[in-house]
């Protein structure tokens, strides 16, 4: 099996690569690339994302044909794809970080700044927070309720259809932490930095 981690200059992806390699050992081939043909022929794709919504969308668009290839992979061919952090946020129709920017429009919804309630909640939301499982999800197999996951973000994904939400966490409001819609998965937290539970989620995705 081949798992591609999409390298589209979205910032630091070495931790994502390290964690997938740790879980895969020698059994699964993990490749880091933006090569369109390799993405097309891979079994699974991971879409990381750091920095702003706008900078990540711009970086995707900067690689000619990449968005079309991802669309074909995830929407037409319905192969498993995992978005991490801004990678998840880009599933939305639109994001409001820096300026209004169109997303991939795979899951109807928007990405807005977390309400800090006049400074009551510090932003970025950095650190370990408990997640609450609200719906079964394949990537959460074998994970007991309320594990701690590592977060770093100031914006949140607000999907229109709440049925896609699999976990939430309490920070100012109920923030969406992970989603599952058919073959499309995403986590707002960083599984690659969330210790054993994070590695378990990565393992679940690889084993789908």
């Amino acid at each position: 099996m081949n798992v591609i981690i999409v390298d589209y200059n979205s910032g630091n992806i070495s931790s994502v690569v390290n964690s997938f390699q740790e879980v895969a050992k020698d059994k699964v081939n993990i490749e880091v690339t933006s090569d369109l043909n390799k993405i097309k022929s891979s079994d699974k794709v991971v879409l990381p994302g750091q920095g702003s919504f706008k900078s990540c969308v711009d970086a995707l668009n900067n690689i000619s044909g990449l968005v079309d290839t991802l669309n074909e992979f995830a929407i037409n061919n319905k192969k498993p794809l995992l978005g991490i952090c801004v990678g998840l946020q880009m599933f939305a129709d639109i994001g409001y970080e820096e300026t209004e920017t169109k997303g991939l429009a795979w899951i109807a919804g928007k990405v807005s700044k977390i309400d800090n309630q006049n400074g009551k909640f510090k932003l970025p939301h950095i650190g370990w927070n408990e997640i609450k499982i609200v719906k079964d999800s394949k990537i959460l197999n074998g994970i007991e309720n309320n594990p701690h996951m590592y977060f770093v973000h100031s914006y949140e994904f607000i999907p229109e259809d709440k049925n896609v939400i699999s976990t939430t966490t309490d920070y100012s409001t109920n923030i969406v932490c992970s989603i599952e819609k058919e073959n499309i998965f995403g986590t707002q937290f960083h599984p690659e930095k969330s210790d054993k539970v994070g590695l378990k989620i990565i393992k679940n995705f690889i084993n789908l």
Binding site: P124, H125, H153
Partner: protein, 251 residues
């Protein structure tokens, strides 16, 4: 609920830990990778390396340490010490650091913070503020605490937030190494002034100091070195103690 973080810090010089954990079963007590792994297995919420390598020839040793650690530890890794430029930050991130802390360079030129937070995102830019009390205010020190800039630390903290820092690592130079506790007044003043998380550092001698840093100093995270190194306290003990005092921690 968001948990308060406990961050053990390891001083690394020429690729070796200077003050390390005094465990007899360690194969190599000076190996930062092995020590970081002990901390992360023990429940550390984050690992911090402070590179105190003095000579330029040996500066590259930290990259190798970061690269090896990031393949073994799956909690956030923050690296600081001698970070001068956007290129330095880029190199550390590529080696597997999750966050980079900038000290002297941020004071000399706040553009570095602005530019790097734009390029890599605020989430990986930590500004380290070393401050010392002078009469009724705190002043910023640079170059590992040797140079007094006269800059007001609290105003500087605000400026760094505005420049795009994602977190502030605040060290009291008066308390560092004394084991008498954090400078609570400094921590709470900065924490109240900014809307980004503050990591308290400098002066921890016992577990009550960690409690004070969070409860009184209003810090989001507490960093300590020596209380963890010599086996005086484990990360687990620290967390259980904080928990017993009603502080939310990840256990």
């Amino acid at each position: 609920m968001l948990k308060n973080r406990i961050i053990p810090c390891l001083d690394v010089k020429n690729g070796r830990v200077v003050k390390g954990i005094n465990f007899v079963d360690l194969q190599d007590a000076g190996d930062p990778v092995e020590q970081a792994k002990i901390y992360s297995d023990g429940g550390a919420d984050e690992i911090c390396f402070l590179d105190i390598t003095a000579s330029n020839e040996n500066r590259d040793t930290i990259y190798d340490v970061v690269e090896k650690t990031s393949k073994k530890c799956f909690v956030p890794l923050t690296v600081g010490g001698g970070v001068r430029s956007v290129e330095d930050i880029n190199k550390l991130l590529n080696c597997g650091a999750d966050k980079v802390s900038i000290n002297t360079a941020a004071v000399q030129n706040s553009e570095v913070v602005l530019e790097s937070s734009k390029k890599f995102g605020s989430q990986c830019i930590v500004v380290a503020i070393d401050a010392k009390k002078n009469a009724d205010k705190w002043e910023i020190f640079t170059h590992g605490g040797r140079n007094n800039t006269g800059i007001n630390a609290i105003e500087f903290a605000k400026k760094m937030e505005d420049s795009g820092a994602g977190e502030l690592l605040v060290t009291s130079m008066d308390r560092d190494g004394t084991q008498v506790g954090y400078d609570i007044e400094l921590m709470s003043k900065i924490s109240s002034k900014v809307n980004i998380p503050v990591i308290a550092s400098g002066g921890v001698g016992n577990l009550d100091h960690l409690v004070d840093g969070i409860k009184l100093g209003k810090a989001s995270a507490v960093l300590a070195a020596s209380i963890f190194h010599y086996g005086k306290h484990s990360i687990k003990e620290a967390k259980e103690y904080l928990d017993s005092k009603g502080i939310p921690v990840r256990i």
